[in-house]
C-alpha cells in the first residue's frame, strides 16, 4: 500500500517535497493536524479530499472517526456535535451540497464551533455544472464564517493548518472554510513542501473546548431558547469574535513564518507587481494564474498593471485594502460570482471593494466590476487584456460601465 504523498525529496527532520493535488494537500494537512472526526459525502469536486482521507485511514496513516453521512446536512451536523464534545473536526462540500447543509452552516458559527472545512467551489444548480463559481461559499458570508480563498496546493495545505490555529483560538471559536476552485486547484498537481509533524505540533496546539466543553464534568446547557431577551447580546459576542480575527490571523501568519520558514507577507491579500502599477486587477482564487501571465505579457508592451489577490474574504481587511488601492488610478475587480439585483448589478467582491473604499480618507480610484469565468469557464489572457483596457479607460477619466460580463458568448 503506497503512501498517499510519496516524497520526491526528503529533508532532515521530516520535511518533504511531494507532487500532489490541492485536495490531497488538504488531506495531508488534516493528517498532520491529527483531526479526530471527519464526515464525508460525495459531490464533485471537493470530495477528492475525502477519497484521499479514506486511503489515509485504511492504510493506518491517520487515526480518526471517518463517517460517511447520508447527506450534507447530516455531514455538517455530525461534526458540529463532535466539535462540541471536544474533537477536532474536518468537513467539506461543493456547490448545492454546501447549500443543502445551509441550516447546519447557519448554526455552526452561532454555536462558536471551530469547524474547519473545504469548499471545492462549484457552480450552483440549475443548470448542472461542475466548474468553479464562488457563490457557494459566499452564501455564508454574513453568518460568522471565516472565509479564505487559496490559489495553490501549497497555500491550501498551509491555510488548513492556519485555519485550525485561528478557528480554535479561544478568542475566536468560529468556523473557517477554505475555498479551492474546483478542478483548477482541487484536481491539479503541483510540487509542494510538506512540513514535519514536529513543526506542526509546535504551530498548532491541541483543540481545547475549555468552558464550552459538552461533557458530564462540565454540565452546561448549550443553545437554549434566548429570544429577544438575549439574542442581540449573543450576536454581539459573535461580532466581537470576528473583530478579533484580524489580530489572531496576523499572529498565526507570523508564527507560521517563524516555524515553517515560508512567508505570505500580508495575510489578507497578495500584491503582485503593484509597486509601480498604474492600475490593478483584483480577484480571488486560481484566476490569479491567467491574470499574472497576462500581466507579465502586458508589461512587456509597457502597461504597468498589477494584481491584488484577496486571500481572506471574511474577515475583510477593508482599511488595509483601501490604503493599498488608493495608490492606483483605477481598479478592476474580477468576480467569479454574481449577485443579481445588487447595486450596479455587480459581483459580490466588486461590491465589497467599493464598500471598503467609500468611507476611507485616501484617494478613491474608480472601481469597475467584471463578471468572468462563471461555471468553470476559463478566464483567458485575452479576457484579462480586455478587462485591463477598460480599467485604463476609467483611469483616464473615460466613462465605463460599472459591471461588464467578459468572455460571454454574444
Amino acid at each position: 500500500m503506497a503512501t498517499l504523498a510519496p516524497a520526491v525529496e526528503e529533508k532532515k527532520g521530516g520535511e518533504r517535497t511531494a507532487l500532489i493535488t490541492g485536495s490531497e494537500a488538504i488531506a495531508v494537512a488534516c493528517q498532520l493536524a491529527d483531526v479526530d472526526v471527519i464526515t464525508a459525502y460525495p459531490i464533485r469536486p471537493y470530495d477528492t479530499v475525502m477519497q484521499y482521507i479514506a486511503k489515509l485511514v485504511s492504510n493506518g496513516e491517520m487515526d480518526c472517526e471517518y463517517i460517511v453521512a447520508e447527506g450534507e446536512h447530516s455531514q455538517f451536523e455530525i461534526v458540529k456535535h463532535a466539535s462540541a464534545v471536544g474533537a477536532r473536526v474536518f468537513c467539506g462540500s461543493s456547490g448545492v451540497g454546501w447549500m443543502y447543509a445551509m441550516e447546519a452552516l447557519t448554526v455552526t458559527p452561532a454555536l462558536r464551533i471551530p469547524m474547519v472545512c473545504m469548499v471545492g467551489n462549484r457552480a450552483l444548480d440549475d443548470p448542472g455544472a461542475f466548474g468553479t463559481e464562488h457563490n457557494d461559499a459566499l452564501a455564508v458570508r454574513d453568518l460568522g464564517w471565516m472565509l479564505t480563498w487559496v490559489d495553490s496546493g501549497q497555500e491550501a495545505l498551509d491555510s488548513t493548518l492556519i485555519a485550525y490555529r485561528v478557528a480554535e483560538d479561544r478568542r475566536i471559536f468560529l468556523p473557517c472554510a477554505i475555498s479551492c476552485d474546483g478542478a483548477f486547484l482541487t484536481h491539479s498537481q503541483s510540487l509542494l513542501q510538506i512540513p514535519s509533524q514536529e513543526q506542526v505540533n509546535e504551530f498548532l496546539p491541541r483543540y481545547n473546548r475549555a468552558d464550552l466543553l459538552l461533557h458530564p464534568d462540565n454540565p452546561i446547557t448549550v443553545a437554549p431558547q434566548a429570544n429577544e431577551d438575549w439574542v442581540m447580546e449573543i450576536r454581539r459576542q459573535n461580532y466581537a469574535a470576528m473583530e478579533r480575527t484580524y489580530g489572531v490571523i496576523k499572529e498565526a501568519f507570523a508564527d507560521f513564518e517563524r516555524i515553517f520558514g515560508r512567508s505570505y507577507g500580508n495575510p489578507f491579500f497578495e500584491e503582485y507587481m503593484t509597486d509601480d502599477a498604474d492600475v490593478v486587477l483584483m480577484g480571488m482564487g486560481t484566476l490569479s494564474t491567467p491574470v499574472k501571465v497576462a500581466i507579465r505579457q502586458m508589461r512587456k508592451a509597457g502597461k504597468k498593471v498589477g494584481f491584488v489577490r484577496l486571500r481572506w474574504f471574511r474577515p475583510f481587511a477593508a482599511e488595509e485594502l483601501a490604503q493599498c488601492l488608493s495608490r492606483f488610478q483605477a481598479v478592476g475587480v474580477i468576480d467569479r460570482d454574481y449577485s443579481f439585483g445588487s447595486p450596479h448589478s455587480g459581483g459580490v467582491v466588486a461590491g465589497e471593494v467599493r464598500n471598503a473604499l467609500y468611507p476611507g480618507a485616501g484617494k478613491k480610484p474608480p472601481v469597475l466590476g467584471f463578471i468572468c469565468g462563471l461555471g468553470g469557464r476559463e478566464v483567458t489572457i485575452p479576457d484579462v487584456e480586455k478587462i485591463t483596457e477598460s480599467v485604463y479607460q476609467a483611469a483616464e477619466g473615460k466613462r465605463q460601465p460599472l459591471t461588464q460580463w467578459i468572455g460571454l458568448r454574444e
Partner: protein, 341 residues
C-alpha cells in the same frame, strides 16, 4: 487485521426492580415551562433519571427544546445541547464519535458516557427520518435516539405530522363544512421501520410513560446494550389532543389497552411483546374498543360512527391480519381499504 467494528464498553444499567428502587435524584428539574399534564416532560425526566449523571443529552427543536431550556433557567442538570429539527440522528452520532475518537487517542479520560438524542414526531418521523435511519446503520457508536411522540407539531400550534393519527383535527387539518376528514394519512410505524430496516440497530422499543417503570427499564436496557438504539414513546398531549390535563396518564394507558399503541422490544433481532400488550396478545386481558380512547379527545370530536368503525377496523386488522400483530404489517392476502365517505 484490525477488528472491523470496535465498540466501546457501556454503563451497566440494571433494570429497576420496582418503583421503590428508583433513585430520588433528579437530572431534569425545575426551570421548564411545559404545559400542565405534559407527558413528554415526564419522558424527559424519566429518561435522564434512568440514564444517570454520566450522560450527554442532545435535544432537537420542538416542545422539549423550547419549553425546557429558557435561557438562564435550564431544567437540565446533565450536559445538554440543542440540535436542529432534523438532526437528532446526526447529533447523537457526532457526539458519540467525538467522545470515542478522543478516548481512543488519549485526549480524553476513558469512560462510558451515555449519549441520548431526543426528537419529537416532527423532528423524528418527518424531517429527521433520514438522519436517524443513517445513524442506525452505524454499528460503531453507543447512542440512543428517543422519539417522544405527541402526534403533532405541538410547539408550533398543533400542526399534523407524519405521526398524527388518521382523521385528527389539527390546525392544518381542521374539519370543515365540505371536508370532515382533512387528514387521511395513516400514522407512520416508526419503531417497526427502525427494527425491520436496520439490522445493525441493537435495540428498538416502544414505551409509554403511563407505564413508567417499563419505560425507564427500556431506556436502561438500550443504553446497556450499546450500539445504535431507538425508543419510540407515545406521549398524550393535553393541548394537542384536547382533553383535561388530569387525564394524561389514563389516556396513555388507554392507547395501549385499545391496542393502538403496542408495547414491544426488539433486541438484536428478537421480538418480544411487553407489558399490557403482551397480556392482550396472550388473551389474558381484552383489547378495549378504540372509541373509549378516541372519544375522550377533542381532536376526534368530529368523528362519525363510520369514522370510529373505520378506525376500529384498522386496529383490528393490525391485530388479526398483520404478519406479526402490532409490529410488522405485511399480509398474505391483498386487503381492501374502505375509508368512510
Amino acid at each position: 487485521m484490525a477488528t472491523i467494528v470496535q465498540i466501546d464498553p457501556t454503563q451497566q444499567l440494571d433494570p429497576f426492580k420496582s418503583v421503590k428502587k428508583i433513585p430520588t435524584h433528579e437530572f431534569f428539574t425545575s426551570g421548564h415551562r411545559t404545559c400542565q399534564g405534559c407527558e413528554s416532560a415526564l419522558v424527559m425526566k424519566m429518561m435522564v433519571k434512568a440514564a444517570g449523571p454520566r450522560t450527554i443529552v442532545l435535544g432537537s427543536t420542538g416542545c422539549m427544546y423550547v419549553a425546557n431550556t429558557t435561557y438562564y433557567s435550564t431544567s437540565w442538570v446533565v450536559p445538554w445541547m440543542h440540535t436542529q429539527l432534523g438532526s437528532s440522528g446526526s447529533a447523537a452520532l457526532g457526539a458519540a464519535a467525538g467522545l470515542k475518537a478522543q478516548m481512543r487517542k488519549g485526549k480524553m479520560k476513558q469512560e462510558p458516557i451515555n449519549v441520548i438524542a431526543f426528537c419529537g414526531d416532527g423532528g423524528g418521523a418527518d424531517m429527521g427520518l433520514g438522519a436517524i435511519s443513517a445513524t442506525m446503520t452505524h454499528p460503531d457508536y453507543n447512542l440512543l435516539i428517543l422519539l417522544y411522540d405527541n402526534e403533532s407539531y405541538a410547539n408550533t400550534d398543533i400542526q399534523l405530522s407524519g405521526s398524527t393519527p388518521w382523521g385528527a383535527n389539527t390546525t392544518f387539518s381542521t374539519p370543515g363544512s365540505v371536508k370532515r376528514i382533512m387528514h387521511h394519512r395513516w400514522k407512520k410505524n416508526m419503531a417497526g421501520l427502525m427494527a425491520v430496516g436496520h439490522p445493525t440497530c441493537r435495540y428498538v422499543a416502544t414505551i409509554c410513560m403511563s407505564y413508567g417503570l417499563h419505560g425507564m427499564n427500556s431506556i436502561r436496557k438500550a443504553l446497556t446494550i450499546g450500539g445504535p438504539t431507538f425508543i419510540h414513546s407515545l406521549d398524550p398531549c393535553p393541548k394537542g389532543w384536547d382533553y383535561d390535563p388530569i387525564q394524561s396518564h389514563e389516556l396513555g394507558e388507554l392507547a395501549v389497552q385499545c391496542g393502538i399503541w403496542p408495547l414491544y422490544e426488539v433486541e438484536d433481532g428478537k421480538l418480544r411483546l411487553t407489558g399490557r400488550t403482551q397480556q392482550i396478545a396472550d388473551g389474558k386481558i381484552p383489547r378495549k374498543p378504540v372509541r373509549d380512547y378516541l372519544l375522550r379527545q377533542g381532536r376526534f370530536a368530529h368523528f362519525t360512527n363510520d369514522d370510529l368503525d373505520y378506525f376500529q377496523s384498522k386496529i383490528d386488522q393490525m391485530w388479526t391480519k398483520w404478519l406479526i400483530p402490532g409490529v410488522i404489517p405485511f399480509e398474505k392476502d391483498l386487503a381492501a381499504d374502505n375509508p368512510p365517505a
